[in-house]
């Protein structure tokens, strides 16, 4: 915030998956808490700065360049760019979580730890290079520091030792550094010869998305997916997703596939949050530009994948305040969709019928497959009972990809820990061998 105010610049804090999934104790700076301003704020009217028509943009460019120069100067003494003294032999340059790994592997090395990675502190870097015999750059993915160091004429060890692909770990850094003769080799890790079947993430037991993908699989549809838990509809045994790129792409791609004349039965599947985020524009394209695609909005009423954040369909702001819920059905109708259905994805027959009708139609259509995320509403019902006499072990229920179902010699068994009691397995059983248990009163 201080940097942003002082230099009149946006500041981007870049995190990585590993950092986001890690926890430790941090020191809080009380001064940094946001205090609501008592005085009424006034908008700063400065069109030369804020109206980026070409004439103003030309005037603004030198300001931006000057800002970068000042920030580079600031980076020289910025407290998160530091040289940590060591034995002066090997000098490690690194940042982020990789610093933590490198510290374990090189306990006595001299470190240049970079907390701000753009613009880089040129003098500090040159000074560091003079203090050590060998500069070793350890950075995940692209050689960002390495290329800058080389432009300064500094000889470095970098990507020829530490790969550009994959996530680093302390072991990988030690292994690679040992190969280059920088540290002692770790004890060799013998590969495991016992075959250990993988356990990929799957749609949770009780997840309403399962009904959508099970139906699409039955109809052998080509499915253009999107970003959310429902991307798991693409994994075995459901395997009902054929593209998934970025947020909103499901609808854009299905429209393109339609427009080039692909005759397969194609649909887009997009979650409610992703739809609000970036699915509305491509749906306008489909509707206005005479597309005929079927768009399924998998509406679980929350942003599930990232941990149940509220969204415009949930009726609460991110701060938990009640607000007016945006009605997806009304929204898509207002855009011009005439063929619209709201379906409970657990109602398999209704789901199948609606899909068949909409996919065969010559006009664009929207199916809102609505069932709240069971983990968010904490819905749980009793585990259904399997009748071992009736069960033929045909394996049809296992095709739903529900983690709670297990094949045994006597027939299918249901894990009561994992089972959510949604009863979808009972619906797909042709032999009525799975019976939904009555709720305890």
């Amino acid at each position: 915030m201080e940097i942003s105010e002082q230099f009149d610049t946006p500041v981007i804090i870049r995190t990585t998956t590993r950092l986001s999934h890690s926890r430790t104790v941090v020191a809080m700076d009380d001064d940094l808490r946001v205090v609501p301003s008592a005085e009424k704020l006034e908008f700063e009217r400065n069109p030369v700065k804020y109206v980026m028509v070409p004439v103003n943009a030309r005037r603004r460019h030198p300001v931006v360049e000057e800002r970068i120069r000042k920030l580079a100067e600031y980076a020289e003494t910025f407290p998160c760019n530091v040289i940590e003294p060591g034995d002066g032999e090997i000098g490690i340059v690194t940042s982020g979580v990789v610093y933590q790994y490198a510290r374990e592997v090189f306990p006595s090395a001299t470190f240049l730890r970079l907390g701000m990675i753009y613009p880089l502190p040129k003098r500090l870097i040159l000074d560091f290079a003079k203090q050590v015999k060998e500069v070793v750059i350890i950075e995940e993915l692209d050689p960002f520091f390495e290329e800058y160091f080389r432009t300064l004429g500094i000889e470095v060890i970098g990507k020829e030792v530490f790969p550009a692909e994959g996530e680093f770990s302390p072991y990988l850094i030690r292994e690679m550094a040992a190969k280059a003769g920088l540290v002692d080799a770790p004890a060799p890790v013998e590969p495991v010869s016992l075959e250990l079947p993988v356990r990929p993430p799957m749609l949770c037991p009780g997840c309403g998305h399962r009904g959508v993908f099970y139906a699409l699989k039955r109809l052998n549809a080509v499915v253009h997916g999107d970003i959310g838990c429902y991307a798991l509809g693409g994994s075995s045994p459901l395997g009902a997703m054929h593209t998934s790129g970025c947020m909103g792409a499901s609808i854009g791609v299905v429209h393109g596939v339609d427009k080039v004349g692909v005759k397969d039965r194609t649909v887009a599947v997009i979650g409610d949050s992703t739809f609000f985020h970036s699915g509305i524009h491509p749906l306008i394209n489909v509707l206005y530009n005479k597309g005929v695609s079927t768009v399924i909005i998998a509406d679980n009423r929350i942003t599930a994948m990232t941990g149940h954040q509220d969204n415009p369909g949930s009726g609460k702001t991110l701060l938990g305040e009640a607000t007016e819920r945006i009605d997806i059905e009304q929204l898509v109708r207002s855009l011009g969709a005439k063929k619209v259905a709201v379906v409970n994805p657990y109602e398999l027959n209704q789901m199948l019928q609606t899909l068949k009708e909409f996919m065969a139609s010559a006009e664009p259509s929207v199916i809102i497959a609505r069932y709240p995320c069971v983990l968010n509403v904490k819905e749980k019902h009793p585990t259904p009972e399997v009748d071992p006499e009736a069960c033929t072990n045909c394996g049809n229920c296992l095709k739903t990809g529900c983690p709670a179902l297990t094949k045994t010699e006597e027939g299918v068994a249901i894990d009561t820990l994992l089972c959510n009691g949604c009863g979808f397995c009972a619906k797909v059983c042709a032999f009525k061998a799975i019976q939904v248990t009555a709720e305890k009163q």
Partner: protein, 198 residues
């Protein structure tokens, strides 16, 4: 001050994350620097869950280095076995005698490994190995999700941290209506005898 590197591995829904949260807070209360890192899938139930917890005087990396784990706690047999390359001759291993078949096994594309082969794999690499019937104990208490705390009870016998500290953390982290059950699960874990998988 010793260092302790723990890996907790299970299946989403088994309480692996709660158990690792408890382990983090216990470490902090016992005066250690603590870091934790966990990876779970996009969905929260049914996928593999791994949690690394590290206690030490000063901990840098949030992930345990391959070959350097001190305690491997497997809440599910296959998930425990998956971390074999992290073991060394000083490692101790506790594996819950509970199986949850992954989808590839359910649809007949893969075989679930035999318990004796898992035992062989882990005993061959660790200094100490023990099967624990944590899910059995948890079910006696009426809730399978207590298995994680049962395993922590067993682990607590090996660590020089007061029982009271563990119980305080359980009270802090577990919803009030489950506090008593979790305390019982922890106590059951402390009494746990070696088990053998069915």
């Amino acid at each position: 001050m010793p260092k302790y590197d723990f890996i907790l591995a299970g299946v989403g829904g088994q309480g692996t994350i709660l158990a690792s949260d408890i382990l983090v807070e216990v470490g902090l209360k016992a005066g250690y620097d603590v870091k934790k890192s966990e990876v779970h899938g996009m969905s929260q139930r049914g996928g593999a869950v791994e949690s690394h917890v590290r206690w030490g005087r000063k901990v840098y990396s949030p992930v345990v280095e391959q070959g350097r784990v001190d305690y491997l706690l497997g809440f599910e047999m296959l998930e425990g076995a998956r971390w074999a390359t992290y073991l060394n001759p000083r490692s101790k291993v506790y594996i819950n005698t509970h199986k949850i078949y992954p989808p590839s096994v359910n649809i007949g594309q893969a075989r679930y490994p035999e318990a004796k082969n898992i035992e062989q794999l882990l005993t061959g690499r660790a200094g100490f190995f023990e099967w624990v019937n944590a899910t059995g104990k948890a079910m006696e208490l009426g809730n399978q999700a207590l298995a994680g705390v049962v395993v922590l009870g067993r682990l607590s016998r090996d660590l020089e941290v007061a029982v009271e500290t563990w119980l305080e953390v359980i009270v802090d982290l577990v919803p009030a209506k489950f506090t008593e059950l979790n305390k019982q699960a922890f106590a059951a874990g402390r009494e746990l005898k070696e088990a053998f998988p069915a």
